[in-house]
């Protein structure tokens, strides 16, 4: 359970970091290390070059602008949890962070690391997808932005090249969401989710005008349930609508692993969406 050998680099600026990525193809960026270090210790990954981003200037910030909440990729999960700006603009991120590992791992773990690792059960990719985040990645040659919906290509495979680094996660602010809810089913506190769901609703006169529904841990990558969103919009915010949304969510094709069958995950997808909607609408769970 010891990492294989590697060449260690400790850049101090983004330009230096990007230069190292361009120069060394077999590389990994070490962010908070709460996923990469276990994978290296177990030798699932053995990068020739390990590029430590922990001393890079200018990647640890939370900035409020008129239309965006901008978060540096190396901002730690603990910092996000303590941020008033995060709680104000993205209240569900604050709620979801309580389910990210344990306080000891949140002291090190970063938002950028979580997005690049892209575990299907991870909470921060789910929340980024829910809020339609915009991600900025840079290589030595170019800077580009990717929408959160285009970020997951496949299982644990984000849309980022080996010479690129995730620099910033920008969350749109000022959307008129009136209700929000999150639910996660896990075996124990801090454990990987079996199913998780996050819901944003905009309700006026008892009618759902706008809806965003994201599901985690059920499919190979976190996903938006656009069919459930379409079903919710225009309906009354009541038990009948929740029941219809739950039934629709439980139709999703789920994956199985050594612990949970596809059938179980599929059922739990419905339960997670139902409970997230109940949390959003302040309704008690009857499940």
């Amino acid at each position: 359970m010891k990492s294989a050998g590697f060449v260690y680099h400790q850049p101090s600026s983004v330009d230096e970091l990007l230069g190292l990525l361009a120069a060394h193809e077999d590389n990994r960026i070490l962010a908070g290390g709460q996923s990469l270090m276990p994978m290296m210790n177990m030798r699932f990954v053995q990068p020739e070059h390990l590029i430590d981003a922990n001393r890079v200037d200018g990647l640890n910030y939370i900035r409020e602008e008129s239309n965006w909440l901008r978060i540096g990729a190396m901002t730690r999960q603990k910092t996000l949890m303590q941020s008033d700006a995060v709680t104000r603009h993205c209240p569900l991120m604050r709620v979801a962070l309580q389910h990210v590992g344990h306080f000891q791992t949140r002291n090190r773990g970063t938002i950028g690391g979580s997005l690049c690792h892209l575990d299907p059960a991870a909470e921060l990719p789910l929340i980024s997808l829910l809020y339609d985040a915009s991600l900025t990645v840079r290589s030595a040659a170019e800077t580009r932005t990717i929408s959160a919906s285009e970020w997951p290509l496949a299982y644990m495979l984000p849309a980022i090249g080996p010479d690129e680094a995730l620099i910033e996660i920008a969350l749109p602010v000022g959307a008129d969401w009136t209700h929000q809810g999150f639910f996660e089913l896990a075996r124990r506190r801090g454990d990987f989710a079996i199913a998780s769901a996050a819901v944003l609703l905009s309700i006026s006169d008892g009618i759902i005008r706008k809806a965003a529904v994201a599901l985690g841990a059920v499919t190979q990558t976190p996903c938006r349930l656009t069919d459930v969103e379409a079903l919710l919009v225009g309906q009354r915010a009541d038990a009948q609508t929740i029941a219809a949304a739950t039934a629709q969510a439980a139709k999703i094709e789920a994956f199985s692993d050594a612990y949970y069958s596809a059938q179980y995950r599929q059922r739990m997808a419905g339960v997670a969406v139902e409970r997230a909607l109940n949390a959003a609408l302040g309704a008690p769970d009857h499940g």
Binding site: M1, F6, G33, H102, F103
Partner: protein, 163 residues
């Protein structure tokens, strides 16, 4: 590949320096270079919590940090928890009184996690304590005596700071 880096850091209040092999995680560095075997290595992939130490006051898993990353940092291990005159930390005292340990393998991690947690949460509920140690696995005690010890230590620490 057997690269080393010269690092300087504070370890249990004392300035230290060493040539750290870059592939050593912090737990390895503490045990192998400094002989501080109080930091226990259980799973080495961040699940068991036995290797928890404080880096700049924050509880972290020492198997998930590289030793070279503590250059310039302040590190506290379980050996640094008691007073210099060897009086036990209130947590250690409460663990002894409440039988908060049996085999003792998880104990250093439990103590360091709780030390960091109580520093930021003076008046925790039982549920808060259970949440704080949810990342530390104990195979012996069933957790109940650990929770009781933590609550007792929290109470004594509050009393001491008020008195």
């Amino acid at each position: 590949m057997d690269d080393t880096r010269a690092i300087h850091f504070t370890l249990n209040g004392k300035a230290e320096e060493c040539d750290a092999p870059v592939r050593f995680h912090l737990g390895d560095l503490l045990r192998e270079k400094f002989g501080l075997t109080g930091t226990h290595l259980g799973c080495e992939h961040g699940v068991c919590g036995a290797c928890t130490v404080l880096v700049d006051g924050e509880a972290v898993r020492s198997c998930l940090m590289l030793g070279v990353q503590v250059d310039g940092c302040e590190v506290v291990t379980v050996e640094g928890l008691a007073d210099p005159d060897s009086r036990l930390h209130p947590l250690q005292q409460a663990f002894a009184e409440k039988h908060g340990l049996q085999c003792g393998y998880c104990t250093p991690g439990m103590l360091m996690s709780l030390a960091a947690f109580l520093a930021e949460n003076r008046d925790p509920s039982e549920d808060d304590i259970r949440d704080a140690i949810s990342g530390n696995i104990c195979r012996c005690t069933g957790y109940q005596p650990i929770v009781e010890a933590a609550l007792l230590a929290a109470q004594r620490m509050r009393n001491a700071s008020e008195g």
